[in-house]
Symmetry: C2
Subunit: 409 residues, 2 copies
């Protein structure tokens, strides 16, 4: 059977809302990182054209996960066996929590839900494998990613159009599905003649490189390795859960680096991969931490924390020296994420990158903790307009595509 | 902080593509039922207004799942324990298979992918709980549903806008998430003055009731209980996997009903629930079949199959007599789904419903096997236009909402 080209063939674009120039609009961005702390919710006012957006953060809050749910998510993320029933249940429970986060943030800031342009939800990653690995039995698992937090429940609960689940579309084009913030970093932080690196210190650390006088297509980026993931895990273990993080880097600053452990950790195969590359709990989760602790006998806790902190610093610095500085000149590095509050880590970064000016993203109106949530709010409105959100040079995708799934309310 | 109503507050609708009147358009609908057979793919030409669509099926094929994948899906659906890694992997593998089904169907019918208006994908249900149940330890699990088959991979592979995952939006409004075909049944099969029931005999059986002279809001529907699920499972078990179904009802027609087993089966609590209600493998999967077989000693296989077939017939007939005929007059029943090929089952239905005219959906241009896939193609274009797809009286939802997630390619 041959079917003649139908007259609607090229009219798919008609179905895309092409509102690229807009007045100011309110959005909420939701981010739940690999740290499994809870839900970061950012209420933002966006104005200006999509290619040159201005963002004002109106409110930001982190809504911690209930402890039971956090434990369940950690178990799932660390490879624990669950039934489809449990996963389905957690997906829906998270969706409801995400919806509640939006309503609570809006209510406490006297913003009507009906005045929201859209909600962006990253979802809680419970599995992410950006590249082929050799699995057990010599059988490599194919790349895939899984985010939980049913977005239809967010849209339904808030009665606001929701965009969610940004990573699979990039992976469908052969990309790593991460990092996805480089385009937003370019839109927010590019500065003529000034080479810029943005560094996000979440559970995983990732960088975006914006060369001087760059176009969108010159931008690249990748995950450098652990951010706070290993440090946090060690603090939890060594304090028997009494502390969840090394606040301000106080513990690390009192410790000494253990060279053997650092050296061994730096031999992790992920660190040798040529970018683009992405990492997660699969690389730097509990299995890695166990190995890290293997030879801990006789070593003081503060030394272990100092060593883990140095691992984060060294992997970032090595990545910049090896993969960035040889190809472009960089003047400054703009840091965000929870790790930006770790004074010891920041100090060590400054020492190790003497030729770069260190900034925190807050200096540019984008508070460190809110940057990821803000970024996804910006990605969401691109998706609604049918615009691509990924940068192939950052993710390895074969082409730029709109990211995420749209749910009308 | 008080934020004044922003001028884009009510402009969310601008982001909805409102193309409700259309010329003819090509779509592919993908359906993967609880039978876990594989992927039903329907290539359709839709014309006319969305409230009165005309559908022509241009091609239909079932692409069976690879046996390993089928076994894995059965394990997951039956409550087997898996890691997030496995689930993520299966989700992506299914997404790729779904995308391949579209490209193969289009290629073998000489239709360019670029001429497709959209793809609709139901996804493979691995868990569905429409209503609260009392779980173990006296702790009821909340309703939720989980479909696999990553739609971003379909959209990315085919470069065609994809709508997928239709059930969660309805559940977000307190609905059962099923059945979702009633609105489409109404659009395709309503006939003035003629009360109509449509019956789909998939793994689960569901009916839509279209009273005479009805408006959309008069339509209702629900799952009546098992369709082919119990019959198929028994055939597989009793033939040690040599047969997968009771083709034409040949086995059942040679057997005798075992009254004790039928009676016991009819005491399943789902059957007593007042509609709207939905069922799945959780109700009529392996646990149910095990109980069914408990007293099988000395009973011939054909008697067990005959009894399972009679269970399907009786639950449908009881549901109609109890919940439909008391409230509206019905003249005809239009049957679709794989079970429509089971001559014994169809014969028994005719005997038990002497006052209704029995039709197969194929008589109305909608082949029995393709009806579900066609229905989701029609639901998808409603979603793209921002139109609701559920009928609250069928699902129990508090309001009609657009169903599914949109992925732009």
């Amino acid at each position: 059977m041959s079917i003649s080209q139908n007259k609607f063939s090229s009219q798919r674009l008609n179905f895309m809302p092409l509102t690229r120039k807009l007045g100011s609009r309110l959005s909420v961005g939701l981010m739940s990182g690999t740290s499994l702390d809870g839900i970061d919710a950012a209420l933002v006012r966006i104005s200006g054209e999509m290619e040159n957006p201005k963002v004002k953060l109106l409110a930001f809050r982190t809504y911690p996960y209930p402890i039971n749910l956090q434990a369940e998510l950690l178990n799932i993320s660390e490879g624990g066996m669950v039934s489809a029933s449990t996963l389905s249940d957690v997906n829906f429970r998270l969706g409801i929590l995400f919806g509640n986060a939006v309503t609570r943030l809006c209510r406490s800031n006297r913003v009507k839900l009906s005045s929201l342009h859209c909600i962006a939800s990253h979802g809680q990653t419970v599995f992410h494998l950006g590249h082929h690995i050799k699995g057990k039995k010599n059988r490599g698992q194919a790349p895939s990613t899984l985010q939980l937090g049913e977005p239809s429940l967010i849209a339904g609960h808030c009665k606001v159009t929701t965009v969610a689940d940004f990573r699979p579309a990039d992976m469908g084009q052969g990309g790593e599905g991460a990092p996805l913030v480089p385009l937003i970093d370019y839109l927010l932080f590019r500065k003529k003649k000034l080479g810029t690196i943005t560094l996000n210190l979440g559970g995983i650390a990732n960088i975006t490189i914006i060369p001087p006088n760059s176009k969108e297509s010159d931008v690249f980026g990748f995950d450098t390795g652990p951010g706070n993931m290993v440090i946090d895990a060690l603090v939890r273990l060594l304090t028997h859960g009494k502390k969840l993080m090394d606040r301000n880097g106080c513990i690390a600053s009192r410790g000494c680096i253990v060279p053997q452990i650092l050296k061994k950790s730096l031999s992790h195969p992920f660190l040798r991969l040529v970018p683009p590359k992405s990492a997660g709990r699969e690389e730097f989760g509990s299995v890695f931490v166990e190995k890290f602790l293997k030879s801990k006998i006789g070593i003081r806790p503060q030394d272990l924390i100092a060593t883990a902190t140095e691992l984060t610093v060294t992997t970032i610095v090595n990545a910049i020296n090896q993969f960035v500085l040889p190809v472009t000149s960089i003047e400054r590095i703009i840091i965000s994420g929870g790790g930006a509050h770790n004074k010891h880590l920041m100090h060590r970064l400054g020492v190790m990158l003497p030729n770069l000016r260190l900034h925190k993203s807050g200096e540019f109106g984008i508070p460190e903790d809110a940057k990821e949530a803000i970024s996804f709010a910006l990605l969401a409105e691109r998706t609604l307009a049918g615009l691509p959100g990924n940068i192939p040079a950052a993710t390895g995708a074969t082409r730029p595509v709109p990211l995420g799934k749209i749910i009308y309310a």
